[in-house]
C-alpha cells in the first residue's frame, strides 16, 4: 500500500501540531532455546534477535491517541517497560509503527517514504538520555552541530559556521571555548547542551525529549530544564517530554499523560492530573514519590508487585492485577477513555472521582507477585 504522499502543509491555527491516533507498535519475541519468559528482555522487544522460533508478540504501544498543539508541552510518565520510549520512536517512524496514524504538521508520516519522510521529519527532533551515547566521540562539537545543517543543505560553509556559533550561544556555551572540543572534554550537562543545540539547529517545531535530563545531577538538571524553557519561549517550540520522574514532568508540561503497559491510562492538564488524579495507577505513582516536605509521611509502596509481562498482558484493564479497586468487570471489559473533567480523560471503570466499588474482588490468581507481599 504505497499511498501518494500528501504535500506538507503548515498547520492551520487551532490545528494540532502532532496528532497521534490508535498507534500500535509490536515486536516479535523469539526464543533462544528456552521459553521466552524473560520479562525485561521482552520489554526491550528486539533483544532476542531474528533467530529462533516465534515465542510471542509484545504490543509495546497499544492503541495510543493524543494531540500536541503548537507551543504546547505534553509530558508522558510511566515506569520502565511502559512503552513510552517505543511510542516516541514510533512517532519518529524509527521503526515504523505497526498501525495507527501520526499526523505531523498536516502530513501523515506513516505513509511517507525516503526523501519525503526526511523532509517531514526535519521539523521533529530528538534529545536522548545519554548525551555521550548520542554524540560521536570522534567528532568535534562544531561538526556535531553542523551535521544536520549539512544534511538538509542549510546554507554554505560560512553561513553554517555562523549558525553553529549562534546555536552554541543559544544553549549557553561559549563558541570560542567549546566549538573545537570533543565530547569527552565536556561535562554531562555541557554534552547535553550540545545535543540540544544540534536538535534545534534546523528550527524544528517539535522536540521529543526521552529522559533528556534524567542522568544529570540535580543542579545541572535545573540548568538544562531552564534552557528547555528558554528555547520554548524564544523559538515557540512544542515538546513531547518523556520521563519517569513525575515531579520533573509536572515542572515542564502543560498536559500530562500516564502510560502503563503500552496504554494511556490518564491524560489531562498537568495541574488536574496531579491534584486530582482519576486513575488508581496515577495515584500510586504520586504516592511513591519521596517528599522533601516538612513532616510529610514517608512514601509507602502503595501498589504491590511489578508490571506483568507485556507478552501476555492481563485481560480487560491492564492495571487490574495490581489495582486495589479492581472487580470482575475490570477483567472482562477493557475500560475506554472517558472525559470526566474538562480535557481530562481516564481509562478506568472505577475512577477515583467516584467511590470505590462495593464488592472489591482481589484477583488473587493473578497476583503471583502481589499476594506474597501482602503477608508482610
Amino acid at each position: 500500500m504505497t499511498a501518494e504522499p500528501t504535500p506538507p502543509d503548515q498547520p492551520a491555527a487551532g490545528e494540532p501540531l502532532l496528532s497521534v491516533r490508535d498507534l500500535v507498535q509490536e515486536f516479535v519475541v523469539r526464543t533462544r532455546g528456552a521459553a521466552g519468559t524473560d520479562r525485561t528482555s521482552a520489554a526491550e522487544g528486539v533483544l532476542f534477535g531474528t533467530s529462533g522460533s516465534k515465542a510471542g508478540v509484545v504490543q509495546a504501544v497499544s492503541g495510543v491517541s493524543f494531540d500536541i498543539m503548537p507551543g504546547e508541552t505534553l509530558g508522558i510518565v510511566g515506569e520502565t517497560g511502559s512503552g513510552k520510549s517505543t511510542l516516541a520512536r514510533a512517532i519518529l517512524q524509527a521503526p515504523r509503527p505497526k498501525s495507527g496514524s501520526v499526523m505531523f504538521r498536516g502530513t501523515e508520516l506513516t505513509r511517507l517514504r525516503g526523501r519525503k519522510l526526511l523532509q517531514a521529519r526535519r521539523h521533529m527532533q530528538f534529545v536522548f538520555q545519554d548525551p555521550f551515547g548520542s554524540l560521536d566521540p570522534k567528532w568535534k562539537v562544531r561538526s556535531i552541530i553542523d551535521e544536520p545543517l549539512v544534511a538538509y543543505h542549510a546554507g554554505d560553509r560560512t553561513a553554517r559556521g555562523k549558525r553553529v556559533d549562534e546555536l552554541l550561544d543559544l544553549v549557553g556555551l561559549d563558541p570560542a571555548r567549546y566549538a573545537k572540543r570533543h565530547p569527552r572534554e565536556l561535562s554531562g550537562g555541557q554534552a547535553q547542551r550540545v545535543a540540544i543545540a544540534r536538535a534545534v539547529a534546523l528550527e524544528p517545531s517539535l522536540i521529543i525529549c526521552d529522559e533528556a535530563v534524567s542522568s544529570l545531577d540535580v543542579l545541572v538538571q535545573a540548568q538544562v530544564l531552564s534552557l528547555f524553557e528558554k528555547l520554548r519561549a524564544e523559538l515557540s517550540l512544542s515538546y513531547l517530554f518523556i520521563a519517569h520522574d513525575l515531579s520533573l514532568v509536572k515542572q515542564v508540561s502543560d498536559r500530562v499523560a500516564v502510560m502503563y503497559l503500552g496504554k494511556l491510562c490518564e491524560i489531562g492538564p498537568g495541574e488536574d492530573v496531579y491534584r486530582q488524579p482519576l486513575h488508581p495507577y496515577t495515584r500510586a505513582l504520586l504516592d511513591s514519590i519521596p517528599s522533601t516536605e516538612p513532616g510529610a509521611a514517608r512514601a509507602t509502596a502503595t501498589i504491590k508487585g511489578e508490571p506483568p509481562s507485556p507478552i501476555n498482558p492481563p485481560s480487560g484493564c491492564r492495571f487490574r492485577t495490581r489495582c486495589p479497586r479492581a472487580t470482575d468487570l475490570c477483567a472482562t471489559e477493557e475500560p475506554k477513555p472517558r472525559e470526566l473533567a474538562a480535557a481530562h480523560f481516564v481509562a478506568c471503570h472505577y475512577p477515583l472521582s467516584q467511590p470505590a466499588p462495593v464488592a472489591t474482588v482481589v484477583t488473587a490468581a493473578d497476583a503471583t507477585t502481589g499476594a506474597t507481599f501482602r503477608s508482610a
Binding site: 519468559t37 524473560d38 520479562r39 525485561t40 528482555s41 508541552t73 515506569e79 520502565t80 561535562s187 550537562g189 545531577d217 540535580v218 543542579l219 545541572v220 538538571q221 535545573a222 540548568q223 530544564l225 531552564s226 524553557e229 520554548r232 519517569h244 520522574d245 513525575l246 515531579s247 520533573l248 509536572k250 515542572q251 515542564v252 508540561s253 502543560d254 498537568g270 495541574e271 496531579y274 500510586a284 505513582l285 504520586l286 504516592d287 511513591s288 514519590i289 519521596p290 517528599s291 522533601t292 516536605e293 516538612p294 513532616g295 510529610a296 514517608r298 512514601a299 509507602t300 509502596a301 502503595t302 501498589i303 504491590k304 511489578e306 503471583t368 507477585t369 506474597t372 507481599f373 508482610a376
Partner: protein
C-alpha cells in the same frame, strides 16, 4: 561512646591523577548509632561513594587513605585485605546502584547467595541452600524456591536488587551501606525497596547508610543527614531539623540542592532557581569555600578562607560564613 557503631574521624582519601593530587575526601567525620539511618547526600564527584568505599576497604591499591574509621571500637583503616574480610559481610555490607552489574550473569541466583554464606560461615552446602532460600523469603521474593534456580537475567530490576540485598544480608551485618541502591529503579519499585530496607533494618536491628543524590529520599527515610560538596561535609543535621517545619537549612549549597528539585507543588513552567557553573576541579580546589564560585551570597571572606564545619546549634553543623536565615526557603 560505647554506643556508637561506626565512628569516622577525619577521613581523608586522595588519588594521584596525572601527577596531581586529587583530594576526593577531605577530613570527613561522622558517627552512626546502631539501628539508625544516615543519609549522605551530594552530586557526582562530591566524595560520598569514595568515603564509604574507603571504610569498606574497596579502593584501588595506591590510594592514600588517612584518618580513622572504627567499627565498635575496632579500626578498619589500614587493615589488610584478609583482616578486612572478617568485617565485610558479617559487620558491614554494601549494596550498589546497578543490580545487574553486582550479580554474576552466568551464575544462578541461588549459587551466588550460597557462595556468600559459605565464604563467611562454615556450613554444609545443604544448610547454606536452606539459608539462601530463607534469605530470598526475607527480602520478600515470591516463589523463592523457583527463583533460587533462576539466572539474574530472568529477574526484573527490582527483583535483582532484592537478590543483591539478600546477599548483603547473608551474614546479618550490623551496618548496611546502600550506594544509590534505588536510583536505577522506578518510583513504585523504589518505594517497595526502601520499605523493605526499613523493615529489615527493624527486624535485624541494623544501621543503614544511604548514599544518594536524592534529597527526597533523605527527607523521607533518614534520621541524620550529611551533605557533601567537593570532598567535604558542608552541613550535617538531623533530618527533622533540616526538612522539618520552619526548615533550618543553613548552608547555601544544601539550600540550592533543595531548590533545584522539581516539586509537585510548583506550577508548570515556573522558573527553577539556577546555580551556574559546576563543582570545582578536585585537583585544584579553591583556597576558600569550595562552593563560593557558584554561591549567590559569596563575599570576599568566602573566597579568602574556607569556613570550618562547626556545631553552631545542637547537633547541627554547617560550614558557611554567611548562612541562610530561617532556612532560606525561597
Amino acid at each position: 561512646m560505647t554506643d556508637v557503631l561506626l565512628q569516622v574521624d577525619d577521613l581523608r582519601v586522595s588519588f594521584v591523577v596525572g601527577g596531581r593530587e586529587l583530594r576526593a575526601v577531605d577530613g570527613v567525620s561522622f558517627s552512626v548509632d546502631p539501628g539508625r539511618t544516615l543519609a549522605i547526600i551530594g552530586e557526582s564527584g562530591s566524595g560520598k561513594t569514595v568515603c564509604c568505599r574507603a571504610i569498606m576497604g574497596l579502593l584501588p591499591l595506591g590510594t592514600a587513605i588517612g584518618g580513622s574509621a572504627r567499627l565498635r571500637g575496632a579500626e578498619l583503616i589500614g587493615l589488610s585485605d584478609a583482616e578486612l574480610r572478617k568485617h565485610r559481610g558479617s559487620d558491614i555490607a554494601m549494596v550498589f546502584q546497578d543490580p545487574a552489574r553486582s550479580l554474576n550473569p552466568t551464575m544462578r541466583v541461588g549459587v551466588q547467595i550460597t557462595e556468600a554464606i559459605r565464604t563467611h560461615r562454615k556450613v554444609s552446602r545443604h544448610e547454606a541452600q536452606t539459608q539462601a532460600i530463607e534469605l530470598l523469603r526475607l527480602v520478600r521474593i515470591p516463589a523463592a524456591e523457583r527463583r533460587f534456580h533462576e539466572y539474574p537475567h530472568q529477574l526484573s530490576g527490582g527483583m535483582r536488587q532484592r537478590v543483591v540485598i539478600a546477599i548483603a544480608l547473608a551474614c546479618r551485618p550490623k551496618l548496611l551501606m546502600a550506594d544509590e541502591a534505588t536510583t536505577s529503579l522506578d518510583v513504585t519499585t523504589q518505594a517497595q525497596i526502601m520499605e523493605l530496607l526499613l523493615e529489615l533494618q527493624h527486624e535485624l536491628d541494623m544501621a543503614l547508610i544511604l548514599i544518594s543524590h536524592d534529597m527526597g529520599l533523605a527527607a523521607s527515610y533518614a534520621d541524620e543527614v550529611i551533605v557533601m560538596y567537593a570532598g567535604k561535609i558542608v552541613e550535617q543535621a538531623p533530618a527533622l531539623r533540616l526538612f522539618g517545619a520552619g526548615g533550618a537549612v543553613r548552608m547555601r549549597y544544601t539550600r540550592a540542592l533543595l531548590d533545584a528539585v522539581p516539586h509537585l507543588e510548583r506550577p508548570a513552567h515556573s522558573p527553577l532557581p539556577i546555580v551556574g557553573g559546576r563543582p570545582p576541579d578536585p585537583t585544584a580546589l579553591p583556597p576558600g569555600c569550595s562552593f563560593a564560585p557558584r554561591c549567590g551570597s559569596a563575599a570576599d571572606d568566602c573566597v579568602a578562607k574556607a569556613p570550618a564545619l562547626l556545631e553552631h546549634a545542637p547537633n547541627h553543623r554547617w560550614a558557611c560564613w554567611h548562612p541562610c536565615e530561617n532556612g532560606g526557603a525561597a
